[in-house]
Symmetry: C2
């Protein structure tokens, strides 16, 4: 460890500094730096030169307070390790890039109270809009959202009541659709494998949809297995081994996400289990990872990128629908049978 001198703490530069250095009024300097209003080319160049040589960085805090405008969009997601949310974030970033708005991300770790506090923290910066995952929030959070006076988009899930706008898929219907595909392929002893997270409402709704769909075929779920923490791929292997040991007559396994599904697939292949003849498999999300697996896991695309893009369009007020609030946009996930469901 070296003891290099810490950079000297100078007073940060202000508009006034640029104004004095360039001999132009603060107001005109401000106009140049925001490219707003008419400024002669001469003054403009003088100002920019001064700003650049001084190394001036505008103070958005003061600017935001004065203009009552903040170019920030609060984006609140459950987790970063899920692979699902980074893609939603990418969609949001893509659209906002062209609008002068900037996303700011907060993570809740699937905890409602944490969502509430992150939301509070973010609202206190007076963002131009909020995008958050799901429709389930604490009462206080819901109240903050309704009172915020800015566009709110609840993303990912449409099964429930929205505060303002909502963009997503119906996870219930996704589960139902999967049940139909499973039954159509002739499977009848179905097991479900998922996360233990009580607040993963979307996984829960998929399970409910699945059971509803199976019930329509006169079938009930034969077994289920849950996990928490650790490497999802490894957990997928372990859970699959466990559930098959416990219920050897299962002929289909529905996983709450592709990662554990991939683990299950690898396990079955190694154990010499005939997939999809003896056992069928399906996951959920349509993650890119599946492309590299020995066999294509059946899955359902969660429309992550599209959801992110649409949410951002609504916040930015550039959604093709032209509507400005209270939108409900339901996307349709496509079922990909892959190589793990009998045809």
């Amino acid at each position: 460890m070296t003891l290099a001198p810490r950079p000297e703490i100078r007073r940060p530069l202000t508009l006034r500094d640029v104004s004095e250095a360039s001999g132009v009024s603060e107001m005109t300097v401000s106009r140049v730096l925001r490219s707003r209003g008419d400024v002669s080319e001469t003054t403009r160049e003088r100002v920019l030169l001064a700003a650049r040589t001084l190394g001036y960085v505008p103070n958005k805090i003061a600017g935001a307070l004065a203009s009552q405008r903040v170019n920030l969009v609060a984006v609140i997601i459950p987790s970063l390790s899920n692979m699902v949310y980074p893609e939603v974030m990418t969609g949001i970033s893509q659209v906002l890039e062209d609008t002068g708005l900037q996303p700011v991300f907060g993570v809740t770790h699937y905890l409602p109270e944490r969502e509430e506090s992150v939301l509070y923290e973010m609202l206190s910066w007076r963002p131009s809009g909020v995008i958050l995952a799901g429709l389930e929030h604490t009462d206080a959070a819901r109240q903050m959202l309704s009172n915020a006076g800015i566009p709110i988009v609840e993303a990912m899930d449409v099964d429930g009541v929205a505060v303002d706008s909502v963009v997503g898929i119906s996870h219930r219907r996704a589960g139902l659709k999967m049940a139909e595909a499973i039954l159509a392929a002739g499977y009848s002893r179905i097991g479900f494998l998922g996360t233990m997270m009580p607040y993963d409402h979307r996984a829960r709704k998929r399970l409910e949809g699945l059971e509803e769909g199976l019930a329509q075929g006169g079938i009930t779920l034969a077994d289920r297995e849950f996990y928490s923490g650790g490497s999802a791929l490894l957990k997928g292997r372990e859970m699959t081994q466990a559930i098959l040991a416990r219920s050897p007559d299962l002929d289909f396994l529905y996983y709450s996400n592709d990662m554990i599904g991939a683990g299950g697939l690898l396990y079955c292949l190694e154990a010499g289990i005939d997939v999809p003849g003896r056992v069928g498999l399906a996951g959920f999300n349509g993650v890119e990872l599946l492309d590299g697996l020995p066999r294509r896991l059946a899955t359902m695309d969660a429309c992550r990128l599209e959801i992110g893009r649409t949410a951002a369009q609504i916040i930015a007020g550039v959604h093709p629908s032209g509507l400005i609030g209270g939108e409900r946009i339901e996307l349709s996930p496509t079922l990909e049978l892959g190589d793990t469901i009998r045809r």
Copy 2:
């Protein structure tokens, strides 16, 4: 699509509203809400009640301007899809949580100009510190960093000159160490597989370290293969097939990350190639995913969580070293031979 009425846009509440509702001066209300200074229990409760019933959310913009203090830490990372950075972010969040500081994340997509603009944007919010990845920046970015007058931590890599503090591993040394392990295991025809990204300096340094280490054993790299975009797992398969077709005599493949390494491993296993007898494999990062693979890929832990935690400690001024700036902390990645290097 329904046409629900958008929530009415009211003037956001201010301290004055709480003051009037509670009959307490703005100043005292402010003190209560920040729990600063002495306030009688009676007034305190009256204020809190009023604030809660109104649903008041403080305006941090005004607060920050007045107090000249912002509890934000700018965190600038290259990518979200890399799996590496989310873990660094987690480490940062863990530590900052206890300090009243809040991370704000920006993504550069490995583009220096984008890093510069994200940095500019973030500095204009006057954060309390900056954490960014790597030591390579544009001149303008470097100047902004030195002029910012706040603690700066460059994370991930220590091979170079830092602006202020630096926390990370030596990727050059990591490559070197891997070369030694490869040679010690008796491999001699080595191939490198990596990303095409010109700005992935850490992968580049690992490659340089590898070549240096091989040179010490009198060996030069036999072949190399690069990719960009797409599913890393799939690319790993494809590249492995391609490089082995082109250079069938290769007996070791060093991958610039675990994801493509995992793809390579899956390919070799399916192709019936004896690993690690006929061909040895190694990746880099020590990602959790490897735990679920059929065989344990050799890798090197990049100390991601620890790097994040340490960086945050420096920014928060709570690092055990007690130093306040200009720190240089080099962590030592551990080599895990797994099952893909001969012993």
